[in-house]
């Protein structure tokens, strides 16, 4: 599936139940048009990972995800040899002589996400999630892969991509990424959505939710983001919370139900403690007024 304009891609993403703002649609479009990776940064829960999933859907591509963590190495990101099988083969061949090629053939290779993405015949969206968690050694290796789109396995030779995967990197900025990696990618910062878009997202993701409840929930979360919280809620939290409220059969919010369900919006004890009693009543009132006005 090819997209000629940003509008076309935006439309297709909407069709896949993902509502990007214009900036994100532009970033994804340019990433395809320029065949460059795109680095998405933003607060947790603004939909960085969801964007990759939606892009894969509209492209009819396979989504291959590499979740990064500290200590991630080639054996877990690219490939590994299947040692138990190799050992069995050695045992079976005990009598005769054993040639090295027998032991390091494709049938003994365990393919990890990066190799899968490079060595694929169909279209692929490669999601490299939370790259800031991987250590710098891995970042340097990744830079190589993203420049050449090829991987060398000493025993087998070099495998080059027959078609370049679309690459999305996400980062929560727990550390600064290397400049070389940033230069190779387009950069887009995803902020919290506008209130209108957040309501639209909630109504799309929580089918059947009363319009008023969606408006009040979005407005309340917006109020929360204005406070000094350890972890301000993202869109993901708004959706979770709206689902909970809808499941309770609510038409609107009040202090009592907010109190009962606050745990699905705020994930830190200190944040929940900060939103109690008068603060909570004040925010509920503000949200209800804002929703009624909007």
């Amino acid at each position: 599936m090819e997209f000629e304009t940003i509008d076309e891609l935006e439309e297709a993403l909407r069709g896949a139940d993902y509502l990007p703002d214009r900036g994100l649609a532009t970033a994804l479009y340019l990433s395809l048009a320029l065949s460059k990776p795109v680095l998405l940064e933003g607060e947790a829960g603004v939909g960085k990972t969801e964007a990759a999933k939606a892009l894969a859907t509209v492209l009819g591509a396979r989504l291959i995800r590499l979740q990064c963590y500290e200590g991630l190495d080639v054996a877990h990101a690219v490939y590994e040899w299947n040692y138990p099988r190799q050992l069995l083969h050695i045992r079976a061949a005990q009598e005769g002589t054993l040639r090295e090629e027998e032991l390091f053939g494709p049938e003994y290779l365990i393919r990890r996400p990066l190799l899968e993405a490079i060595d694929s015949d169909g279209p692929v969206v490669l999601l490299i999630d939370e790259i800031d968690r991987a250590d710098e050694e891995f970042e340097a290796f990744l830079l190589e892969v993203l420049s050449d789109f090829q991987i060398t396995i000493p025993e087998l030779g070099t495998i080059a991509a027959r078609r370049r995967p679309a690459v999305i990197l996400t980062s929560n900025r727990t550390r600064e990424l290397h400049d070389a990696l940033k230069r190779r990618a387009l950069f887009h910062w995803i902020g919290h959505p506008s209130i209108e878009r957040e309501i639209a997202i909630v109504r799309l993701r929580v089918p059947g939710i009363p319009e008023r409840l969606a408006g009040e929930a979005a407005a309340f979360v917006r109020e929360l983001r204005g406070l000094d919280l350890a972890k301000p809620p993202g869109v993901a939290e708004t959706i979770d919370w709206a689902m909970a409220l809808n499941a309770l059969g609510r038409q609107e919010i009040d202090a009592e139900v907010v109190q009962q369900t606050l745990g699905s919006v705020l994930k830190y004890r200190e944040d929940i403690d900060a939103v109690q009693d008068e603060t909570l009543s004040r925010l509920v009132e503000a949200a209800r007024t804002a929703a009624a006005a909007g």
């Binding site: 214009r22 048009a33 190495d73 250590d135 929560n172 727990t174 990618a185 200190e270």
Partner: protein, 379 residues
């Protein structure tokens, strides 16, 4: 193509505007920007804006600057005051004075530069215990190398990454199989892998307000050496507000770093707002988990100009994220010292180690504590 040339001219000049404003914009990025503009509808301002932003900017903290430049250049908005130079005439004078003050202290007593290793044993011992506030410029210069040596010892932690190691605790199966081929398939050799040690993240927050003035110089030398140990170190200075010093301290020469630090910390020599500075740190850097799992080293005398309660609240947040919090207070060097200052009292419950750091000997102690630190209170 006339239209194309016009765009080329615009983008290249805009790149220069950004560069002047302090953004790193190489030819590769300008080429990407042109390719991007070629792919979008130029009639839509929003699309032009995002195409340029996504190709020319790669850091969140540069977005604001980009926005101003974009408005000024493409939208012909009234030109805003230059963003990069925050030095108003007053600040400039203040910075100039601060630099002069540092320089004059260094030349105050002209003597031979003196090699720290040639320092007589007795002279050395004397200097070790001499309060930093009482050092002459020459004495400080003699101690420079010793201070740097202390700063270079970094606390380590186990990485999750394993590397070949003869004393390792895990079998390196890949290498074992390779080697076994030579022996006809018998794993005679058992290569091992072990977790390697990597430096633990270290965040240093240094108070450079008036009351700390006499210690700041020596402590900045220490910080310079710490930052020189490589990645995973972040240094900040605070007074009335917080300023990130890591890039300034990253230059090789301590003198240049010192001069640049002075310039970066515009509130050098004014009052202290510890609570507000800690809050700024928690909000901007703590949220990015900069302090998670790190040893946080705070250097301050604890004199809070405003609200001690705020100090306590922000210290609690900081301590939750950090691996350990070490507070260095030069006043503690005085045996009669009692932590009576409001800010210090509020902070102490969240401090794992409380040390003096007023002379060379106490810096050595600090290095030993940092190297052997374990989570939560021991002392």
């Amino acid at each position: 193509m006339v239209a194309g040339d016009a765009i080329l001219g615009h983008v290249v000049t805009f790149g220069r505007v950004l560069h002047e404003a302090g953004l790193e914009v190489g030819p590769g990025r300008v080429a990407d920007a042109l390719r991007a503009l070629d792919a979008v509808d130029l009639a839509r301002q929003e699309d032009v804006y995002f195409s340029l932003r996504q190709t020319l900017v790669s850091r969140h903290d540069e977005l604001d600057l980009f926005d101003r430049a974009f408005s000024a250049w493409f939208l012909r908005a009234p030109v805003l005051p230059p963003v990069r130079s925050r030095s108003s005439a007053e600040v400039e004078t203040r910075v100039g004075q601060a630099v002069d003050r540092l320089r004059s202290r260094e030349t105050e007593e002209e003597a031979d530069p003196g090699d720290p290793l040639e320092l007589g044993a007795s002279g050395h011992e004397l200097l070790r215990d001499k309060d930093f506030a009482e050092l002459t410029g020459d004495e400080l210069r003699r101690l420079r190398e010793l201070i740097a040596r202390i700063g270079r010892s970094r606390p380590q932690r186990h990485s999750r990454r394993r590397t070949p190691d003869a004393r390792g605790d895990r079998l390196d199966v890949r290498r074992m199989i390779r080697r076994s081929l030579r022996a006809g398939g018998d794993p005679l050799d058992r290569p091992l892998r072990a977790r390697k040690d990597v430096p633990r993240k270290l965040v240093v927050l240094c108070d450079v307000s008036g009351s700390m003035d006499s210690y700041a110089r020596a402590l900045l030398l220490f910080l310079h050496a710490v930052v020189g140990t490589g990645r995973g170190v972040e240094a900040f200075a605070f007074g009335t507000r917080l300023s990130r010093l890591t890039p300034d301290l990253a230059t090789r020469d301590p003198d240049a770093a010192l001069a640049r630090c002075t310039e970066a910390v515009v509130d050098w020599g004014s009052g202290t707002r510890i609570g507000a500075s800690l809050r700024e740190f928690n909000e901007v850097y703590g949220r990015r988990a900069l302090s998670r799992g790190a040893i946080v080293l705070i250097v301050s005398d604890g004199w809070e100009r405003e609200d001690p309660e705020l100090v306590g609240r922000e210290m609690a947040k900081l301590a939750r994220a950090a691996y350990a919090v070490v507070w260095v207070n030069p006043l503690k060097g005085n045996p009669q010292y009692q932590p009576l200052a409001g800010g210090m009292r509020a902070a102490l419950p969240y401090v794992d180690r409380f040390l003096p750091g007023h002379n060379l000997r106490s810096l050595e102690e600090l290095a030993a504590v940092l190297a052997g630190i374990e989570r939560r209170h021991a002392a």
